[in-house]
């Protein structure tokens, strides 16, 4: 990355490198912030999801007089400062009571934004049960035919999966699968529930799954949407060429299951190879006269040394 102002400390340089565009990206950070007027429900929603998404989440405690659907510049500014690409905005007004806007950004600009109305919200504290550990990757269960009704709904499903899936990891511990978030789209509403996974004994290696309602539960009503155009979305989906897995060359398996490899060698001068001297293969005197004087001299010397 060519920067005009070079960072003066290693720490500063590392902080800037973290925010750089990379081939294999970091887990997306979420930003939770409030609008000009909020209700108790909405603030509780933001706080709960902030606790669940920690440490990949930032919560702004103060109110901001912004309207994401009218002016995206403040959203983009906050997101760039906190290095987030997902956001959750909460507000409350007479026209849009208990309003939540979930959105994501690409390249510092708003990609998709969906507005929901929260009805029937139960917070983390109201569920008097044990909670799962923080910072683990939750399992996602999406159900219902709502999300297949139209292209827009499919995009909403993609957005919700992107928002609620946790940090991207290569490996995960089998005992660390404790949390499942269910998103069910039915009856024109989206039901959001969180459960803690209890693994019970079963006849096989795979445990029997039992669920216990633990997390925040909300019924969401779809309001406005502002989805990115198809070509912008395609641009955002572009994967770098180097991210593709490299094919291993020169390794094959034969029919018997043996692993075979190919080695490519430079051409070797086989007649100049250093091998052990076998006396019987040495050229005799009669042949020497035919060959030449130089060889003669060399071979004579050799013979003398061996004889001696």
């Amino acid at each position: 990355m060519q920067r005009i102002v070079k960072p003066k400390t290693q720490r500063g340089r590392r902080a800037l490198d973290k925010k750089d565009p990379k081939i294999f990206e970091n887990s997306k950070n979420a930003l939770m912030f409030k609008g000009g007027n909020t209700s108790q429900t909405v603030t509780q929603v933001l706080k709960d999801w902030h606790t669940l998404k920690k440490p990949n989440a930032t919560l702004f405690s103060k109110k901001n007089a912004t309207k994401p659907f009218e002016d995206q510049s403040s959203v983009e500014f906050f997101a760039s400062k906190s290095d987030s690409s997902l956001f959750m905005f909460g507000s409350h007004s007479k026209k849009r009571p208990h309003n939540i806007v979930i959105g994501r950004l690409f390249d510092g600009q708003v990609l998709d934004m969906v507005e929901f109305g929260v009805t029937n919200f139960t917070s983390l504290q109201d569920f008097k049960t044990l909670k799962s550990a923080t910072g683990i990757k939750p399992c996602l269960a999406v159900s219902g035919d709502f999300f297949e009704e139209s292209d827009d709904n499919r995009r909403i499903k993609n957005l919700l999966i992107d928002f609620f899936r946790g940090p991207t990891v290569e490996k995960i511990s089998l005992s660390g699968l404790e949390h499942v978030i269910s998103i069910t789209g039915a009856n024109g509403k989206i039901y959001l529930r969180s459960y803690r996974i209890l693994m019970k004994k079963s006849g096989s290696k795979v445990p029997r799954v039992e669920l216990e309602a633990m997390g925040p539960a909300a019924d969401l009503v779809l309001r406005r949407t502002r989805l990115a155009s198809d070509d912008l979305f395609k641009r955002a989906l572009k994967k770098p060429v180097t991210a593709k897995p490299k094919k291993k060359k020169n390794i094959s398996r034969d029919d018997l299951g043996n692993k075979l490899g190919r080695i490519h060698m430079n051409t070797q001068a086989f007649d100049k190879l250093q091998v052990r001297k076998v006396k019987g293969l040495k050229r005799k005197k009669a042949e020497k006269e035919v060959n030449g004087t130089d060889d003669e001299a060399k071979k004579q010397k050799k013979e003398e040394s061996t004889d001696a």
Binding site: M1, D20, K62, K63, T66, K171, A186, G203, V206, V209
Partner: protein, 342 residues
């Protein structure tokens, strides 16, 4: 009789054991497991089946729970099939790449344009030979870094410098070395910025004439031309020498708007100026004003809260210093904590 009793006992034992087994072992089967689409990379299970609306209204929570349980069970069934490895007592599975296409958060990084040196090295076939970080330093008899803090062979840190024969005896040799180092650093920074400007294909203003120890003929003639132009005053230039030729370096040409012609654009410009002057409405940034109001409200509330509380009794060191809560102004947050009030 004894046999029948034993048989009876055995059957009783069997029934008890089978009951216990049934209770312990529950199935991991999921009905319609094939209809649930799985994306192990995202730990995602999608079930697109329609839900019965009548049933749903009555037993919402139980239906949601059962749907989620089925989906999670199907996911677990497939996750346990993945390759497992053991590390520090925990069983880890390697998740495959996610099947759902998610948009990235930032665009794919562009390749860096080669710098001037890199291009030259490529044409000449110069390879970058890897050098060791530590080098033997004779004076201190230990290995020191080749570059950076406390480096080996650092000539700016010499405590004695021999004055060369041809040098001015009153010249400060230590200062000379320090300034030479500064020059090298400045030159490197300049080259770096030029590389950045070239890669971003931006127009950079010319440096003009950089001061050099040994100026070339070109450099001197340019300097002369610049001096001739800059020492002029109200159109009067210093007289040229008898055999001096007018210099070829005429500098940049500046463009000015014509004073006559194109009355339309001039009219527009003048009207625009008048408009902004005559407007009685001051331009307010509505969002900024609203935000300011909100902040003021919050600060006021915080202050009221602070003043309502009874002041804490100050003991010990703080009391001797005269520090106490009544003196401090209320209202603050993480940012103001620890900072002195101006």
């Amino acid at each position: 009789m004894a046999e029948s009793m034993v048989e009876g006992k055995q059957s009783l034992v069997d029934t008890v054991l089978s009951k216990a087994q049934d209770q312990q072992l529950k199935t991991t089967n999921v009905e319609n497991e094939e209809l649930i689409e799985l994306d192990e990379g995202n730990l995602l299970a999608v079930n697109e089946n329609k839900t019965d609306t009548k049933d749903f209204k009555k037993k919402k929570e139980t239906i949601l729970l059962s749907l989620t349980r089925d989906a999670t069970q199907a996911l677990f069934n497939s996750l346990w099939k993945l390759p497992v490895e053991q590390k520090d007592g925990a069983y880890l599975i390697t998740l495959p790449e996610s099947k759902t296409w998610m948009p990235r958060e930032k665009p794919v990084p562009k390749k860096k344009a080669p710098t001037k040196w890199e291009e030259y090295a490529k044409t000449k076939g110069i390879l970058n030979k890897k050098k060791s970080r530590m080098v033997w330093d004779e004076p201190s008899q230990q290995y020191k870094p080749r570059w950076g803090y406390q480096r080996a062979n650092d000539d700016t840190k010499d405590w004695v410098i021999e004055v060369p024969d041809n040098a001015d005896p009153y010249e400060d040799q230590f200062e000379k070395r320090k300034t030479a180092k500064k020059e090298r650093v400045a030159k490197n920074e300049l080259q770096r910025l030029r590389n950045v400007a070239r890669s971003q294909k931006k127009k950079v203003p010319g440096i003009g004439l950089a001061p050099t120890e040994k100026p070339s003929k070109d450099h001197l003639s340019k300097a002369l031309a610049v001096a001739h132009k800059s020492t002029a005053s109200i159109g009067k230039f210093t007289d040229r020498l008898p055999k001096e030729k007018p210099s070829k370096f005429t500098g940049k040409k500046r463009k000015f708007e014509p004073s006559i012609g194109n009355l339309g654009s001039e009219k527009e410009k003048q009207l625009k100026v008048l408009d902004s002057v005559s407007k009685k409405i001051p331009t307010i940034n509505v969002t900024k004003a609203a935000n300011r109001m909100l902040r003021q409200d919050e600060e006021k509330r915080a202050q009221d809260k602070q003043s309502r509380k009874t002041p804490k009794k100050v003991k010990g060191r703080k009391a001797s210093l005269g520090l106490g809560k009544p003196g401090r102004q209320g209202g603050g947050n993480k940012k103001t904590r620890g900072k002195r009030k101006r």
